[in-house]
């Protein structure tokens, strides 16, 4: 594609002139089983084939940014949990690191390791949901419950660590809220040993199932230029073969110490950048996360994780854009401080927001069933889109 920005279509319809057809407008959502929340997509369809799709968002708007201006820096953290409620740890992390960089704060070594461990565990948990719900969108129900079975174990670990299963409020500015309890690190290791073989089971039942491949390969192809132009990031962009992972490209926390690969889509089952590739990137990333967790568990030092947590957060005036790699892509916090107790502005560049915006470009020409697959493969969380 040249740099003109016409939305590409999958294939053009060939309808003879004398055939009288009529477009149908169809409102998919906000109450629909596979819009992953309260997303509405206004579809113009010709039979089962989609002519145009326009996402309508905002049904879950909770004024995060306005809230953030009215509470103190620390009190924003519980609110960040609620952005992407599937991967709260990663949301905490970006905000905390952003403020730490503004305050020029060193973070305790043990806390850094704990942060990486929980962030990667949460990445696995989030990708598991992505896998499961994607299977559900395609029509396979059973893998959905298998991934929940394994995600539960991660949540159990989190509950033991910080007491919450979903909205953790764990990563604080300057450290973490709780040190790991006795034996927790060993349990994490145990989990990685248990979990790795399970991925093969998902592959058996879903990933390499012929029907699943037929449904997902060559569907919803995002060419890399289009993906970048639309601001797609994370696994959705890597599925298109773009090597862009903030953990490698702009290492934050201590990600530069670990040995892991960036997974990109190679078009093994179809075209590069199709929904299967995006799905497969997530599966492969779980292996990488396991790798990181293992290394972190081996290298974690003793110490007091709360040592460097400041009593009062005083942020010097200025602004900073902190981007981290969450399971969904580049999560950016643009924080402006005026030196006061409350942030002057916290803008969230949510990955799913930009990822979803690519939908009108890739939806035309596919069938309704494929649209469901595309939305599923973008792995959106409406809490984050609507903020």
């Amino acid at each position: 594609m040249s740099k003109s920005n016409l939305p590409p279509t999958q294939f053009e319809l060939e309808i003879s002139d004398d055939l009288k057809t009529e477009e149908m407008t169809l409102s998919m959502g906000p109450q629909h089983p596979s819009t992953h929340g309260v997303l509405q997509v206004i579809l113009k369809t010709d039979g089962e084939i989609i002519k145009s799709a326009e996402p309508v968002i905002g049904y879950l708007h909770r004024c995060f940014e306005k809230h953030a201006e009215n509470v103190t820096y620390h009190q924003v953290i519980p609110y960040t949990d609620r952005l992407d409620y599937i991967a709260s740890m990663n949301n905490n992390l970006g905000y905390a690191i952003g403020l730490e960089r503004m305050m020029n704060l060193e973070v305790n070594e043990r806390a850094e390791y704990l942060r990486v461990i929980v962030a990667e565990l949460n990445r696995i948990a989030s990708h598991l949901i992505a896998l499961g719900t994607y299977g559900l969108d395609i029509g396979a129900f059973t893998p959905f419950l298998y991934v929940f079975r394994d995600r539960e174990l991660i949540l159990d670990l989190f509950e033991e660590l910080c007491g919450a299963r979903l909205l953790y409020n764990y990563i604080w500015v300057g450290g973490v809220a709780y040190d790991a309890p006795q034996g927790w690190i060993d349990k994490v290791k145990e989990f990685t040993d248990y979990f790795e073989p399970k991925i093969k089971e998902y592959n058996d039942i879903l990933t390499f199932n012929k029907i699943f491949i037929e449904r997902t390969a060559n569907v919803g192809v995002i060419p890399p230029e289009v993906g970048i132009n639309y601001g797609v990031s994370g696994p959705s962009l890597r599925g298109s073969g773009v090597n862009f992972d903030l953990r490698k490209d702009a290492p934050y926390s201590i990600y530069d110490r670990f040995d892991f690969d960036v997974c990109i889509g190679k078009g093994e089952m179809g075209t590069v950048g199709d929904t299967w590739d995006r799905y497969w990137v997530r599966v492969a990333e779980m292996f990488e996360s396991v790798k990181i967790i293992r290394q972190a568990c081996d290298a974690i030092p003793e110490g007091d994780a709360k040592e460097t947590v400041p009593r009062n957060i005083k942020v010097p005036p200025g602004d900073y854009y902190m981007a981290t790699e969450t399971p969904r892509g580049e999560l950016g916090y643009y924080i402006i401080s005026d030196g006061g107790k409350n942030p002057n502005r916290v803008k969230v560049r949510s990955p799913a927001y930009s990822n979803l915006s690519v939908l009108p470009a890739i939806a035309p020409g596919v069938m309704i069933a494929d649209l469901v697959a595309i939305i599923g493969s973008l792995d959106i969380v409406l809490g984050e889109i609507d903020r």
């Binding site: 740099k3 920005n5 968002i57 905002g58 708007h61 004024c63 940014e65 306005k66 201006e69 960089r101 503004m102 230029e225 970048i228 132009n229 639309y230 601001g231 773009v242 862009f244 490209d249 200025g318 602004d319 900073y320 854009y321 981007a323 580049e330 950016g332 643009y334 402006i336 502005r345 803008k347 560049r349 927001y353 930009s354 915006s357 690519v358 470009a361 609507d386 903020r387």
Partner: protein
């Protein structure tokens, strides 16, 4: 390219547009004038081989007190460099040329800024509210925004329900 080099190039090419460069800040930024050749500058940033800013990371609206503003965080996938552009516009009737056809990300982000700050983006293909309902009044992220009491007859402010349920 470093921010300094980018600034030098831009200053040479668009002397009117580029107002100020700040390399002291944590993330160096270039202040631009929205009214003069802003769109052309963005096009140059995207299409020039040495610049090649193909990824608009973030586009945020800001309320600077008196003026409103927009901040562009650009990134180049090829060269892996980044730059921050800042724009200030008047509080009432502020206009910024839309870059939605350069970076499609800007489409939704500009709509969001229009929605929450009320900055108009000229030449935007579909400038309407995105997060709030279409008939919402006011732009909530402005610092001087006062929350209305009712929206279509629905009370917005939560009645103080301490001790009792809402009857």
């Amino acid at each position: 390219m470093t921010a300094q080099e980018i600034y030098d190039t831009l200053k040479k090419k668009f002397p009117d547009t580029v107002l100020e460069f700040n390399s002291e800040a944590l993330q160096p930024f270039i202040k631009l004038d929205a009214e003069k050749q802003f769109y052309e500058l963005c096009q140059f940033l995207r299409d020039d081989e040495a610049m090649d800013f193909d990824f608009l990371r973030c586009l945020s609206g800001v309320d600077y007190g008196e003026p409103l503003g927009a901040v562009y965080h650009l990134f180049s996938m090829k060269h892996r460099h980044e730059i921050v552009l800042k724009i200030e516009v008047a509080r009432e009737g502020g206009k910024i040329p839309s870059v939605a056809d350069l970076w499609r990300t800007a489409d939704w982000h500009e709509r969001e800024i229009f929605d929450l700050y009320g900055i108009t983006f000229t030449n935007h293909p579909n400038l309407k509210r995105i997060l709030l309902p279409d008939d919402w009044e006011g732009h909530p992220l402005r610092k001087d925004y006062v929350t209305p009491e009712y929206y279509n007859g629905i009370p917005i402010l939560h009645p103080d329900t301490k001790g009792k349920t809402n009857e």
